[in-house]
């Protein structure tokens, strides 16, 4: 028996970063907003407090903050010819759950994608010719430009208090910052984090090779900060427990520390936790949403009618919600037709370990989630790809985030994987190794997609999301190229041994890479290749907006959160200034 609730103006599916920002803006504008969160309510005090929050076994190994995959896993296969199986233990990527969403357990690495990224298809053809690209790749423009997003990047960074050093303010290159970045209107709200020793080593070596090192932009803050919402954050203490953990110090920008206090104080907003949304309900025309149906923690089913539905879940769950609800045509890799689930992309991560003599003391535990030093000389299209046979790139950096005892034990590649020799190697190298990340872009290709699994269902009886993914050849070539560059930097640092591990296929879900799952509800200007228009409004059901990294047509060389923040404010402005004043299509199909 479904209980029908009183209609509201807006229902938001997922109260994470996107849901909190959108909810705050629309509630402040006078709309009645209900936020449905499947996980629990949780706050810095007492839920994130030490020493319990530093329990590496609970949070790192057993993934206490993640989506419950005993109830709601994702199934996976590399190729369409295989049978997908449920991922019973998160390793490769870590979707979060609970109030504040996946942002609660992020590292705080806060980048902007570059102008080139938003017009990737057009600019690649312009620079390299129309035949440069493998026709199997389905890259495309975003339908929005960097210049349009710049004010929203700025607003997002000032909401978070991001600590960094500008490299380009209104076209003027700034010493010490990233000269490759697209122009920003002003500097970061707070100065960069303190540089750790390995960052300093990397900076000197990279500069000696003619590259342009700069401090990693961090939303673990370098100093106390009060954001434009009036919410105060503290300075980071470099405890080295950011990613996979929540911050006990109010020092990491997450919904709880940047916007939830304002949102939850607004009587126009109602938070309901423990609510598992089953579907977006459509009327008989299938062109209008009437609200959502959800099941609460006690197993009761409710219908929440609403004039406007916003899906603001983790990227993968946004895709699944549309597929479960029949919003948009599912993608078919055989015909290339359909859009929902199309252009699933990821991140192509490679690593390099530089091993030093025992008189070089690294102290890897003195770190924060984003206190490294990096270069963008081989990221995006910042270098000439002519003759290389691939597009895309990678930032390269000494961006180690921790020296936690269970997970952090760098050893040379010829070390046995267990036993006495392994233990001796761990002791020998723990404090004398610098690890670099090569954080590579991910290109969409025709065979990589998301759909509903035909076999496996969740605890509520709904089909699971099925992921079909392997690394495109383009990205493996890119990984080999940038990893070789990183090895050269390690040698320039004076390491006695440098081991490069360029990403190799096939993709496996059993090794941590990143939680940067993108695509599946792609944005764009062409309804035949996108799910939402440039304002993130569904082409098919105009009173549904979809906001998440699921909007990315392909993934760029940086962590996606900064760009998602900009897209969120971009969509919020369209909602407030256009859609809600005159509901209907914002772009004619």
């Amino acid at each position: 028996m479904t209980e029908r609730l009183k209609e509201v103006d807006v229902v938001i599916i997922g109260v994470g970063m996107v849901g909190s920002i959108v909810g705050k803006e629309l509630a402040a504008a006078g709309y009645k907003v209900v936020g449905l969160e499947r996980g629990q309510a949780r706050y810095t005090a007492p839920d994130f407090q030490g020493p319990a929050i530093h329990d590496e076994l609970r949070f790192d190994i057993r993934k206490a903050l993640m989506q419950d995959n005993t109830r709601e896993p994702v199934t996976f296969r590399n190729h369409g010819s295989e049978r997908a199986l449920p991922i019973r233990r998160w390793e490769s990527f870590l979707p979060g759950t609970g109030l504040g969403g996946s942002m609660v357990h992020w590292n705080g690495q806060t980048y902007r994608f570059q102008a080139n990224d938003f017009e990737l298809a057009t600019r690649t053809r312009q620079r390299y010719g129309k035949d440069f690209l493998d026709p199997n790749l389905t890259i495309q423009d975003w339908g929005v430009t960097y210049d349009e997003l710049e004010p929203h990047f700025d607003r997002f960074e000032y909401l978070l208090g991001t600590s960094g050093k500008a490299g380009n303010i209104k076209g003027k290159i700034q010493p010490g910052g990233d000269p490759h970045e697209s122009p920003r209107s002003r500097d970061y709200p707070t100065p960069p984090m303190k540089e750790h020793f390995q960052g300093a080593m990397f900076r000197k070596a990279a500069a000696s090779l003619g590259y342009h090192p700069f401090p990693q932009p961090s939303s673990n803050l370098s100093q106390p900060y009060t954001n434009p919402e009036g919410v105060k954050l503290n300075a980071c203490v470099f405890c080295g427990f950011c990613e996979r953990y929540a911050c006990e110090h109010y020092a990491k920008a997450v919904p709880q520390t940047i916007i939830l206090p304002v949102l939850l104080a607004n009587p126009n907003f109602e938070l309901r936790t423990g609510c598992q949304v089953q579907r977006i309900n459509l009327d008989s025309t299938k062109k209008k949403a009437t609200g959502v149906t959800y099941i609460d923690a006690a197993g009761r089913e409710f219908e929440q009618p609403a004039s406007l539905v916003i899906t603001a879940s983790f990227a993968l769950n946004n895709v699944r919600m549309l597929l479960l609800s029949g919003v948009g045509k599912p993608y078919d890799p055989n015909t290339g037709k359909g859009v929902v689930g199309r252009n699933y992309a990821y991140q192509t991560m490679s690593s390099v370990s530089a091993f030093f003599d025992e008189n070089v003391i690294i102290n890897p535990f003195m770190a924060s989630g984003a206190s490294g030093t990096l270069i963008n000389d081989f990221a995006g299209d910042n270098f000439d790809h002519s003759g290389l046979g691939f597009i895309g790139g990678s930032f390269i950096g000494a961006v180690n985030t921790n020296g936690r005892p269970i997970q952090y034990h760098p050893v040379p590649p010829d070390t046995p994987p267990w036993g006495k020799a392994w233990k001796q190697a761990v002791v020998k190298h723990y404090n004398h190794t610098v690890q670099f990340s090569c954080h590579g872009s991910s290109i969409a290709q025709r065979q990589n997609y998301l759909d509903l699994d035909p076999t496996y269902r969740d605890a509520w009886g709904q089909p699971l999301l099925r992921m079909t993914f392997d690394f495109p050849e383009n990205d493996l070539k890119m990984a080999a190229y940038v990893t070789a560059k990183a090895v050269e930097i390690g040698k320039a640092m004076g390491a006695k041994q440098v081991a490069g591990s360029p990403r190799k296929g096939p993709y496996t879900t059993q090794q941590y890479q990143t939680t940067h799952n993108t695509g599946g509800t792609v944005m764009g200007n062409d309804p035949s290749t996108s799910v939402v228009n440039r304002y993130l409004q569904s082409w098919d059901v105009p009173n549904v907006f979809v906001i998440g990294a699921s909007n990315y047509p392909q993934n760029a060389s940086w962590n996606p959160t900064g760009t998602l923040g900009a897209l969120t404010y971009w969509a919020v402005e369209a909602l407030k200034n256009k859609y809600l004043k005159n509901p209907g299509r914002l772009v004619s199909a």
Partner: protein, 220 residues
Amino acid sequence: MSVSQVLRGCLLLGIIPLLMAVKPGTEKPPPAVAAKLCQSCHGAHGEGMPAAGIPRLAGQSADYLDKQLRDYAGGSRENAIMHQWAIQLKDAQRAEVAAYYASLAADAAAPATSAGNASDAMLVARGHQLAHQGDEARRVQACDNCHGPDGNGAPRTAPYIAGQSAQYLTASLKAWKEGTRKNDDGQQMRSVVDRLNDADIGAIAAYFSSLAASPNSGSR
């Protein structure tokens, strides 16, 4: 029971650090400068003078003590009396004094004597909450995050606060609030204390003064 069995038992109980600290009556004689400048207020065994708000130093982190002396001299921790002693110390003397007090066993010091406040169960309960859980309404994190479980310190930088007198703890917290103490990296203490009111400060002082001092490896 053999010596090795005793030692094994101690390891299991985690009390090796206590055994390693110097027992009363077996301490090395204090450095001359400590005998001259420190002992008259901080006591012959570093036990402090609770009623006067003078902190105990026994078993406190040497790095922490050394930094405080530098900051008293430099003015980022304001205290007229400590300033006049601290500016007299050369680097080596300061390090020697800090190492000496770090080496003393905390149990050489007398128990905290703040029974007046500690007997107030409500106050102590509020202090317990702030110490272990923090308070979302105030947006303050738990003291334990930095000062260690039960306020026993997290050397090298975060001092033990359990077993200090309520008078000292109150004065110190108020010094952060009033800006006469500003020697915290990242403004960590000022950020927290800025959000506490006088009642919270009293509660924290009552709670930690009700505990016995049992510092974690203070000589580090």
